[in-house]
Amino acid sequence: MEEWKPNPPVKPHKKRSWYLAWKYKLMNQRALRKLCQTGAVLFLLVTVIVNIKLILDTRRAAYEEEEESAQDYDDEMLNVEVPRHPVNNKKVLDVEVYSSRSKVYVAVDGTTVLEDEAREQGRGIHVIVLNQATGHVMAKRVFDTYSPHEDEAMVLFLNMVARGRILIFTIKDEGSFHLKETAKNVLKSLGSQVAPFLSWRDMWTFVGKKGGEVYGEKHAKSPALSTWGDPVLLKTEVHLTSVEDAECHWPDTELNRRRKRFCSKVEGYGSVCSCKDPTPIEFNPDPLKDNKVFDVPVAVIAGNRPNYLYRMLRSLLSAQGVNPQMITVFIDGYYEEPMDVVELFGLSGIQHTPISIKNARVSQHYKASLTATFNLFPDAKFAVVLEEDLDISVDFFSFLSQSIHLLEEDESLYCISAWNDQGYEHTAEDPSLLYRVETMPGLGWVLRKSLYKDELEPKWPTPEKLWDWDMWMRMPEQRKGRECIIPDISRSYHFGIVGLNMNGYFHEAYFKKHKFNTVPNVQLKNVESLRKDNYETEIHRLLGEAEVLDHNKNPCEDSFVPDTEGRVYVMFIRMEQEADFTTWTQLAKCLHIWDLDVRGNHKGLWRLFRKKNHFLVVGVPASPYSSKKPLSVTPIYMEPPAKEEGAAAVPAVAAAAEQT
C-alpha cells in the first residue's frame, strides 16, 4: 500500500482519510472483508474459465475452417472402411478333416475351407496347404490317384511346397488304385504311418507339417472289395509359428517384396518361392532392334487357372522385344490367385464379373477385354490377343514386328496369327516361312483396331447367344473373305489340358505334337510376297516348280512322298465345290493333322511339309489352281468312313471350338 504515498492526489487528506476509513472499517468487519476476497477469487476463477473456453472455441473454429477447406476435395463416396481384423494372435488352429465315400470336407477354426459332396466328381486325394504362420489356405488340389499318372502330379506338387507348410490330406471315394510306391514313400516321408499300406477304398485323413511334426492321422480300412471304409473324422490342433519363421530372408528389393507377398499367400509355384535360390521373376530379354510392336498392347485373356497363367506370363515376359507396360491380364471372375500371379510379375490385371454361362461367358469376357484394351491404349492401332494356356515363342514379337505392316496396309487381311493349325512336328519345317489362310486360327493373334471398332464390337454376340467368339469370328458374315497370315512353325504352343472344351485325350491327339519355334531372331522370308496379289504369283511359281506325285499310290502311306529333302511336291484331291472337303478330311485324318474341321486352306490349296519336303494339296476342280493339274492325273478321292463314325465326330468339332 506504500505506493500510494509518493504520489499524493490533490486532496490527499480527504482521500486518504476516505481510504483509510474504509480500510479500517473493512478490517474491522472481518466478515465483509472475507466476502470481498472470496468475490475477487471467484471473479478471477471465472475469468480463467471463460478464457479457457475462448481458447477452445477459437481452436474449434479454426479446425472447422480447415476441414471446410478440404471439403471440396473429399471423396463423395463415403468409403465405409471395414475396420481391419485385429491381428490374429491365436497360436493354435483347430483343424477338422473328414473323409468318406461321397463327401470330404476340411474346416480350419470352424471355417469350411473345402467341401466336396458332388457326385462323380472330386475322386481321389484332396490336398490343402496352409500357411504355418497365418493359417491361410495357400493351395487346394485334388489328385485323382484312382487314375494313372495323377500320383506323379501329386508328388511333383508336394515337392514344390515349401518346408514348414501345413499339409492336409483327405480321400474321397477311392485314392489308392494308381497310388504308386514313389508317391507312398513321399507321403511316408511326410510322417504318415498309414500311407504305405493304403489300399482299395480305404478312407484316410492326415494333417502334418512338411519336414516336421505330424498333427494327426486317421484311417478306416475297407472290409471288402465291394464296400468302402467307414467315414473318418479327424480333429486336431495345429500350432502356428511366427511370421518371421514362415518367410524367407531375401534381400530387400522391390522384386523380392512382390515375391514375398506372393509366397506368403499361395503355394505350388515351385522355385519362385525357394528361400535359397529363387527363380527370377524379371527376365529382361534382349530388346528387338526396330521393334514395330513395342507400342502394341497385349491382352492376356485368363480364367481361373493360375498355374497356367504363371507359366504363360513367364514365357511371354521372356520373349525378345516384350514391353511389360503394354500387357494387361483380363481375369474372368473375381479370382484371387490369378491376380496374385499378375501382381507377382508387376503387371496390371483387370477382373471381370462373369456374364452369362459357358461359351457365351468366354465370349463376353473377350469382348470386354478387347474394348478395355483399346480404351486403355487409345493410340493403338492393333492389339495382340493371348490366352492363359499358351507358351509364347522367344521370337513371337520379332515375328509380329516383321509382319505387322501387312495388316496395316493389306485390307484383304483379317488377322496375323502365331498358330498354324496344321503345323505339327511332322508337317512343319521352315521357321521363316509364312502362309495366307482363309481360316482364323486364334491362339495368339493380332487384331486391327478398326476391324474391332467398326465391325466386330457393334455386332458382337450378345450374352444370351451361347456362341463361341472364335466360331463367330470365322463366320463368312464377319470374315468377309479376308485371310490371316500364319507362320509355318507356330509361335505359340497350346499347353492347356484343363479347359472348357479340353481334356487330356483331346490335347494329346491334337495339340501335344504341335511344333513350336524355339529359335530366336528368325528372319522371315519374303514377307512382301504375302500381300494379296503377290501371294498368287508366289503360289503359281511354287506350283510351276512342284513335282507331281504318283497318284496311284496311297497318299496315307509314307512312301507316297519320295525320300528326298527340300523339294516341292504337289498332289491333287477331289473337291467338287468350294465347300466339299470330303477327301481333305480323310487325308488330314490319315496324316494325323487337324481333321475336326477345315483349317489352313487358301483357295482350295493346303501347304505343309512331309519328310522335309514342301507338300502342296490342290482340290480339283474347285480350286483356281486346278489348271496346274496335268491331264493324265486323276484327283484322288477318299471315302468318308461309315455313317455312325461321322456322326460321332460332330460334337468333337463343337468341342474344339473355344480352344482353337
Binding site: V41, E66, S69, D74, T353
Partner: protein, 461 residues
C-alpha cells in the same frame, strides 16, 4: 501467515489471469486475423517477398525426377503466366543464366507439374528416393475412368495426383492419361477418409477441383531461373485451354440402368446408323475444329450422350449447337469441301439461324445457332412450307468437355437442365415418334417470317 497466504493466492490468480489475457491476444493474432486476410499457412510459412525455399524445393524435385527418367512438364498457371510475358526472350536464350530469381521465388504453397502416365513405369523407386531426399509424399488414386464405361470390369485404381512436400513448399504432380478421342485427361482430386486433410491446403490447388481435358501439348525445354524445365510450347494457349478444361464423365451407371429398362437396339440397322452417325460426327468435329468454331452436342445427340452414353439409334440425325457469336461465313463452304452438301438453311445470322447438311445415306447433320439473352439462351426453328417460326428456350449454360464415340466434344455442363428444358421431366423414356414443332418441351411459337424475306430465310437445296 494466513494473510500472506491470501495475498499469494490473489497474486497467483492475477498472474494466471494476465497469462490468459496474453494467450487471448496471441490466438487473436494467429488464428482470427489471417481469416480475414490471407490464409492460415502464411503465419507458419514464409512471409518475405523473395523466398528461395521454393526454388530449392523445385530444383530438388527436378533432380529427383530426372534421375528416374520421368519426363514432367510445368503447368503451374502462375509461373506460366509470368513466363508467357517473357516468352520471346526465354525462347531465344534457352541456356542463358538468369540475373535474378523471377519465377520460382515468388512465395507460393505449390508448384504444379504434369506427368504423362504412359511415359513412366510406376517405378516405386521414385518414392523411396524422394523420401531419402526428405520429401513427404501423398498419392491420390481412384477408379480408372477408361474402364468405367465397361460392364463389370474392375481394374486396379490408378494414380491421379501426387503431392511431394518438402519444408514449406509442395510440388503438385498431376497425372495425365490418354483417352479415346486423342486427348489427355486428368482426374479430380478427392481425399479418401483416412487421408491427411492438412497435408497441404488442398483448396488452393490449381488442378483437381474437377477432372480436365486437354490437347496433347507440344513441349519446349527452357531454362528459367537456372532450372531446366519443359513447358508447353505456347503457354498462353495452354492457360486459355486450362480456363475451360472442365471434363464431364458420361454417366455410365445410369446408362446401364437405362439399358436394363430399355434394352439396346442391336439390329443391323441400328448398328449401321450408329456407325454412320459416328463417322459423321467425327467429320463435323474435324471441320469445325479446323475453323476454330466451338460447338456442342445438342438435342437428340446430347440426350443420347446423357441418357445412354451412345448414339440413339432411332434418332436419324446428328445435332450440334453453336453460339451465334462464333458463327463464321466459312462454315458452309468448309462442310461442302468435306463432302457434306448444304441441305437447307433457315433463318439468318440475326435471327433463328439453322443449317442442315446432308451426310452419307440419309443421315443429316443439323447445326442450330444459339442466341444469348440476359436470363436465357434460345435457338430457332422454321417450318419451310408455312414460314412459321419457332423458338426453343434453354436456361443459361456453360460448356464442358466430354468423351463421346471416341471424340472429345463439348456438352453443356448443366446437362440435366439442358436436357430437361428440351425434353421435359420424362426425358428418360425413349420416344420414337418425334415432331420437332410440337414435341419439344421448350418450344414456343415465334411468329411468321415476312413473305418478302422467305427467299433468304428459307433455302432448301
Amino acid at each position: 501467515m494466513q494473510k500472506i497466504n491470501r495475498n499469494v493466492v490473489l497474486a497467483l490468480l492475477s498472474l494466471t489471469s494476465l497469462v490468459f489475457l496474453l494467450f487471448q491476444l496471441c490466438y487473436y493474432k494467429f488464428y482470427l486475423s489471417p481469416k480475414n486476410g490471407a490464409a492460415f499457412s502464411k503465419a507458419r510459412g514464409s512471409q518475405s517477398g523473395q523466398d528461395s525455399t521454393r526454388w530449392h524445393v523445385v530444383r530438388k524435385f527436378l533432380g529427383l525426377i530426372s534421375s528416374h527418367n520421368i519426363p514432367v512438364y510445368l503447368i503451374d498457371p502462375l509461373i506460366l503466366g509470368l513466363v508467357d510475358k517473357d516468352i520471346e526472350q526465354i525462347r531465344s536464350s534457352p541456356d542463358g543464366p538468369s540475373p535474378e530469381c523471377k519465377y520460382f521465388c515468388a512465395p507460393r504453397d505449390f508448384t504444379t507439374f504434369a506427368l504423362l502416365d504412359k511415359t513412366w513405369k510406376h517405378d516405386v523407386g521414385l518414392f523411396r528416393s524422394a523420401e531419402k531426399m526428405g520429401f513427404q509424399w501423398l498419392k491420390i488414386i481412384n477408379k480408372d475412368p477408361r474402364l468405367d464405361g465397361m460392364d463389370d470390369l474392375s481394374g486396379m485404381e490408378i494414380p491421379l495426383h501426387y503431392i511431394f512436400k518438402l519444408a514449406s513448399h509442395a510440388i503438385h504432380l498431376v497425372v495425365f492419361y490418354e483417352r479415346s478421342g486423342n486427348f489427355l485427361w486428368h482426374g479430380p482430386l478427392r481425399l479418401k477418409q483416412h487421408m491427411d486433410r492438412k497435408f497441404v491446403p488442398f483448396r488452393k490447388l490449381h488442378f483437381g477441383r474437377h477432372p480436365g481435358a486437354y490437347e496433347k501439348p507440344e513441349l519446349l525445354l527452357v531454362s528459367i531461373d537456372d532450372l531446366k524445365v519443359q513447358i508447353p510450347k505456347n503457354p498462353s494457349s495452354f492457360l486459355e485451354e486450362m480456363s475451360h478444361s472442365r471434363f464431364l464423365e458420361c454417366r455410365y451407371r445410369e446408362a446401364r440402368a437405362f439399358f436394363q429398362l430399355y434394352p439396346d437396339d442391336a439390329s443391323l440397322d441400328a448398328v449401321e446408323f450408329r456407325k454412320k452417325a459416328k463417322s459423321l460426327l467425327h467429320l463435323a468435329a474435324l471441320t469445325l475444329n479446323n475453323l476454330g468454331v466451338k460447338f456442342w452436342l445438342s438435342s437428340g445427340t446430347c440426350l443420347g450422350w446423357f441418357r445412354q452414353c451412345n448414339v440413339i439409334p432411332h434418332s436419324k440425325d446428328v445435332d450440334l449447337g453453336i453460339f451465334i457469336r462464333d458463327y463464321k461465313a466459312d462454315i458452309i463452304p468448309a462442310f461442302q469441301k468435306a463432302g457434306l452438301p448444304l441441305k437447307h438453311k433457315f433463318g439468318k445470322v440475326e435471327d433463328s439461324l439453322e443449317l442442315s447438311f446432308q451426310g452419307e445415306d440419309d443421315v443429316k447433320l443439323d447445326i442450330f445457332f444459339f442466341y444469348e439473352e440476359d436470363d436465357h439462351i434460345w435457338n430457332g426453328g422454321t417450318q419451310a412450307k408455312s414460314g412459321k417460326k419457332f423458338k426453343y428456350l434453354f436456361p443459361k449454360f456453360t460448356l464442358c468437355w466430354t468423351e463421346f464415340v471416341e471424340l472429345k466434344v463439348h456438352v453443356p455442363c448443366e446437362t440435366l437442365q439442358y436436357v430437361e428444358a428440351n425434353y421435359g421431366p420424362e426425358w428418360k423414356v425413349p420416344v420414337k415418334t418425334w415432331d420437332w414443332k410440337s414435341s419439344p418441351f421448350n418450344v414456343q411459337d415465334n411468329g411468321i417470317w415476312p413473305i418478302d424475306e422467305w427467299d433468304n430465310v428459307i433455302q432448301i437445296f
